[in-house]
Symmetry: C2
Subunit: 366 residues, 2 copies
């Protein structure tokens, strides 16, 4: 998802791991199947909450995590509360991968890039002589691990950039409409966490503006954020490449995606880009990995009440289990380190146990 030298190296590692782990699982349906459900998760959420009025978080088990959310909302929005937050300052930031939807066995956008290579390869016979492309096509992790930066520039150019923004939106939408997750065999857009949708709605109902602040590609996420999360495109902050103002053959103004990273939205970049987009700090932030640490620290410095939460994936039965915090298996996607766990405990952040705190993970369960 990141296109500069440093992140090429990260991507290289991720691709190698991903292919080593799941190269034999085809994950995209090639038929034009009507993958969209008849009602969206947001709509399902609406009716679920209405049925259970009085409980804004029906998919949460009673416990400290649910209570922390309710306490925060009441403290910051009830008139007369000493911790009241003015409506214009009610901002909540949610990481996406691993926080609001599934990020294993690999980020969905990485799967999008892999599939772009597979789709385009018949038009590019020359790729068979390029180790990176060939490695991706046959699932050779070792070959991918050896790829150079210029190999990755070529991958970027082939899959995500050097095209008008509108074309990229179309590609992303089209892929998302047919791609399916290898474990759950459902569209990625159905793999959102119902408890987090409820938190988003609960916050919005209390005057908060909800932002997605993701390491993923901003324009990629914007193609489905409204439908899946009820989050408008302008409330998505993500990694972004530069664009170039140009004229097409009819002299119409267009923007073209350039192979140059503008915003790297991870770690300190999340705080920096929240400032860039909002000009102020959030009062609530939700994440699940070391890449979210600085966003939570920045949020806690807001002055006044704040809420910081981290999702711990400790449920291998219903979703996945990884850490390495608390002795959970290590991972390269969404690493939750023991250091982060200890910081959370030390600073009063809330760690959400997926296993214990979430009564239901997906809208379609049961």
């Amino acid at each position: 998802m990141k296109l500069n030298g440093k992140t090429h190296l990260v991507l290289s590692g991720l691709l190698a791991l991903a292919l080593a782990g799941c190269s034999s699982t085809p994950t995209t349906s090639t038929s034009p199947s009507p993958a969209s459900p008849s009602s969206t998760p947001v709509e399902e959420l609406h009716s679920a909450v209405e049925k259970l009025s009085g409980n804004p978080l029906p998919s949460w088990n009673d416990g400290p995590a649910k209570q922390a959310i309710i306490n925060f909302v009441k403290a910051t929005t009830e008139k007369g509360s000493p911790q009241f937050v003015a409506p214009e300052d009610r901002i909540a930031a949610f990481d996406q991968d691993g926080t609001t939807w599934v990020e294993h066995p690999m980020y969905s956008q990485l799967q999008f890039m892999l599939n772009r290579v597979r789709t385009l390869s018949p038009q590019h016979p020359e790729w068979s002589s390029k180790p990176l492309f060939r490695g991706m096509l046959i699932g050779d992790a070792e070959a991918i691990g050896k790829a150079t930066e210029s190999d990755f520039d070529a991958l970027d150019a082939a899959t995500q950039v050097k095209m008008p923004v509108d074309d990229f939106h179309s590609l992303a939408k089209s892929w998302m409409a047919t791609a399916k997750h290898p474990k759950f065999e459902r569209p990625y857009t159905e793999l959102v966490y119902q408890p987090m949708l409820e938190v988003m709605k609960y916050l919005r109902d209390n005057g908060y503006r909800v932002y997605i602040v993701t390491g993923g590609g901003q324009e990629f996420v914007r193609t489905y954020s409204e439908r899946v999360y009820g989050v408008a495109p302008e409330q998505v902050i993500g990694s972004a490449v530069e664009t170039q103002f140009e004229y097409d053959k009819d002299r119409k103004a267009i923007l073209t995606r350039k192979p140059k990273l503008l915003l790297y939205n991870d770690k300190g970049g999340k705080a920096q880009n929240i400032l860039l987009f909002l000009g102020k700090r959030p009062h609530a932030a939700f994440g699940n990995s070391a890449g979210d640490q600085q966003m939570l620290e920045y949020t806690q410095g807001v002055g006044g009440a704040s809420l910081e939460m981290l999702v711990l994936h400790d449920d291998s039965d219903r979703e996945y289990a990884y850490g390495p915090a608390q002795g959970l298996p290590d991972t390269h996607f969404g690493k939750f380190t023991q250091e982060l766990y200890d910081e959370a405990k030390g600073k009063g952040w809330t760690v959400i146990s997926m296993k214990n705190d979430w009564k239901r993970i997906f809208a379609w369960e049961k």
Copy 2:
């Protein structure tokens, strides 16, 4: 306002011109005067419009400009209109300097920088041996014109960057509270155009989200945008420097302004940054200079109804007159070229004559 090499050169020219033209006019009150009016322009607007209900644009004379605004709003918001625009797509973009407030004799932020140098000079005796700083202090345009890029790096570092963002906000607010415009002898925040405030409100009342898209500094404008325009900080898109996530001595997370330009929000950059912030095109755009051309072209390409307007400063009695379009005097601040004028006429954009279309320019008139 721009900090890279290219714009240093621009800035150099602007400073030289500004000092040549007005080096003898002290423009900042040093007393801590209560410069804020008891009611803001936005509040004054509210009551004015309420008094004249039925006419959402009371400061506009009847004519093609006023009619274009009303036609656009009706066409895009009335149910059943063939040009109806969905509420989520109702976005309007306003340039600031010269479009929503006075930009002559120089941009207010440039005045802020000049005054920063004057304020700080007693602590920097070494500046007297630096041609740029000395030139600014004594108003020597020629010396400023000869300044090197490293001189301007030093100016940036001394006035706007290498400090926590919160400190910059404080400096900008403090300056704005006391600075006065040399011609009108009022705070800059009172020099907003009443007709444009009315358009902003009229658009908002009809479901549009109003953005300021300025070549000026984003964090500078955000310190007053809500109070002056009713535009929230997150709806200000401007030129921006990079920031750096850091910890202060108490291990609190802070962001520090770096001397490196991240977003240059002028010309094609305006279109690029609208995409970056919003993920879509506006349906209405307002500007006044060649720096706004691409934003208007990008808006016109939205597909469906759109409104593009340019303010022509042709009123030397009530404000200023400059072009060089239509034989008006040339200028280095907010140049409205004849080419832009001809493009406007050719593409169906509306040129607003300040002299003929605006019944009243400022809220405090009469």
